[in-house]
């Protein structure tokens, strides 16, 4: 994403300061994270202090200041999934991929995160990898699922 792209995102939101969250969401969607230079650029173009942008970027969970892996593996830890065994899946993931929640594997294959609820409770415990839902998982089924993503 170039600086022009930042400009076009700002233009789409009519240079409206109150749309700051939406602008950051659009940048994040294109880049998969919020690069520091884009935020500086945004601050200049919009005339908003960088500290405010940084404040928003770190307050909301949707934003990441670090590049993400090729596949985003989100373990649902909503209440329904929790009582149906989501913690076992998190353990499994941390044990097998040697990463903690929120981290990216060394080879850049997975970013692992827990999410509050994906609202597919009938499938619990559920894991969403990129946009695929994998439901009613057990530790052993999960292992097979992970192998599908290179």
């Amino acid at each position: 994403m170039s600086f022009q792209a930042v400009d076009s995102v700002i233009a789409k939101h009519k240079y409206d300061e109150s749309s700051l969250i939406a602008i950051l969401q659009d940048i994040q969607r294109q880049e998969r994270y919020l690069p520091a230079d884009r935020m500086k650029n945004l601050s200049d173009r919009l005339g908003v202090p960088l500290s405010r942008i940084y404040g928003i970027a770190t307050f909301y969970k949707a934003f990441s200041l670090h590049p993400k892996g090729r596949h985003i593996c989100s373990v649902c830890t909503g209440t329904a999934c929790h009582v149906r065994g989501a913690p076992r899946l998190v353990d499994k993931l941390e044990r097998d991929l040697k990463v903690k929640n929120g981290e990216t594997t060394k080879d850049g294959r997975f970013t692992v995160q827990t999410v509050n609820c994906v609202g597919a409770c009938a499938l619990g415990p559920v894991v969403v990898i990129d946009e695929d839902y994998h439901g009613k998982l057990t530790a052993s089924k999960f292992e097979k699922v992970l192998k599908q993503y290179k």
């Binding site: 969250i21 909301y60 949707a62 209440t79 329904a80 509050n116 609202g119 409770c121 052993s140």
Partner: protein, 636 residues
Amino acid sequence: MSISGFQVPAPRQQLRSTADLTALAGRIAASRDPRKPVLIVCGGTGCRAYKCNEIIDALRAELAARNLASRFDVRVTGCHGFCEKGPLMIVMPQGLFYQRIAMADVPKIVEKTLQGNEIIDSLLYRDPQTGEKVVREGDIPFYAKQMQAIFHANRFMDPTRIEDYFAIGGYQALAKVLSTMKPPDVIQMIKKSGLRGRGGGGFPAGVKWETAAYAEGEERFVICNGDEGDPGAYMDRSLMEGNPHSVIEGMIVGAYAIGSHQGFIYVRDEYPLAVMHLGIALDQAREYGLLGRNILGSGYNLNIRIVRGGGAFVCGESTALMASIEGRPGEPRAKYIHTVEKGLWNQPSCLNNVETWANVPLIVNKGIEWYTSIGTGDVTTDPWGGSKGTKVFSLVGKINNTGLVEVPMGITLREIIFDIGGGIPKGRKFKAVQTGGPSGGCIPESLLDMPVDFDELTRVGAMMGSGGMIVMDNRTCMVDVAAYFIKFLQEESCGKCVPCREGLRQMGEILNRVCRGKGVKGDIELLEELSQTVLSASLCALGGSAPNPVLTTIRYFRDEYEAHIKQRTCPAGACKELVSYSIDAAKCTGCQVCVRNCPQDCIAGKKKEPHVIDMAKCVKCGSCEEVCKFDAVVVR
């Protein structure tokens, strides 16, 4: 005109009067043949997770290949509620209900059911109680005991087509209000209906509207709170996805009542389908002149805009949500002055939740008498006097029929969980039901016969919340559940006020200690004391209700806390540090499935001989318990 079975709608023209709307609805109804077969497929996010999109594509391809596309309509709708059995299909006009449809079933459905008029037995729902197959949707126990006033319409419309909404009487409530009612009349109507906020607090909507209408300000705003953040709750998403116009229509009526000309729908960015459907619905409403200037020739103007949330639970709180709309971090402020008086940009702002707005057209169309005939208490003189109408719950967790259920207020928990929900899976024992989201409470078996309404739930220490209902069985540890919620709320606390930020952290540490078997005497009392501080000294409702899960689990399940602290055991066998795994030699058949699945290779045993777990190497991952078909793995 028809291209491969789809009706191409005529260009949308501005409706200039209520008569225009009635005429259009009439034309749409007349152009539709009620006898024409329709295949209704649920396309909600829940069924999409079951890959219903592939089924829909295959169905359309199959119909086209057999040259049947013009004879059968395929209607992709929002959620029907029975998520457990998805992907779902209803074949109209017969009303056949097919469930758990797989790709391989698609050609069979077309050939046998559509062409051969034959019912496919294997796709019917089987009643686990009687063992009998059920043909029609309404006869399934899950649906039979519900009262779907809001959700029922989902089946009849493609949410991306406003014309479908017109065909079932959509926007007639708005027409009635704009042409026959003055704003104060509308407020009185909502007040008398006893409608209370479905988002958590249960504040009477009419009272809120009245305050907003008469508060001083240069302009006023209406806001729809679609920031559904409670884990295990997705009814608002399903409404926004499946029937966005009902929410929008309710908002227009409310905006007219309080004299607002700008509305906002704040919706979670994690709900892409809801954002999309709301966007389409707003565009279509604008094309028809149901939004914008001079709505239906009444001289009334309103615009509504979507604002996407950034993934912060606290933004469900009104002041935080408004800060977020203004483009700031969603930190709540103290509410000495309520947001109905000074909210968004310091102007009077009327915020209601998705389901609350969706109730409004129903009340206008069907009347106060109908609405107040459902539910508990008496609201004729006092809008706080009872709970009226229906409530949608998301029934999840250890329950056979996971899904969204809409029930009249006042129904008992037992009816919801056992009659509609079909009880607990694997023949296990019911332990508790948690209502009201992370700041709700856990209700034990002894209270199952209580009626469900705003005031009763509050009385037992829980709350209605937005309607999450998480069922727990005897393998769920109540201390672990309390620790789970406190961890959730601690992470979601915005950090602005000390009682919430620090209090929850301390409570979390104590609970974790108890779960690890490191609890000490006095921990329960300390938790209770901390709870009181957090309850009374927090700035907003997040902290002000956060200790509820701890307090209710202590109140109803104190023995479990004591077992963790005194005996260092977890009666439910859920707390990893306190359990050990073993194999019941009497039940083990020696099938070696657990041996093969153990990631630590710590289960030994020959074929047809009882296996043994080496606890020195075991990491307690639970794989053996999950794969054992003979219930031989003992966790204690």
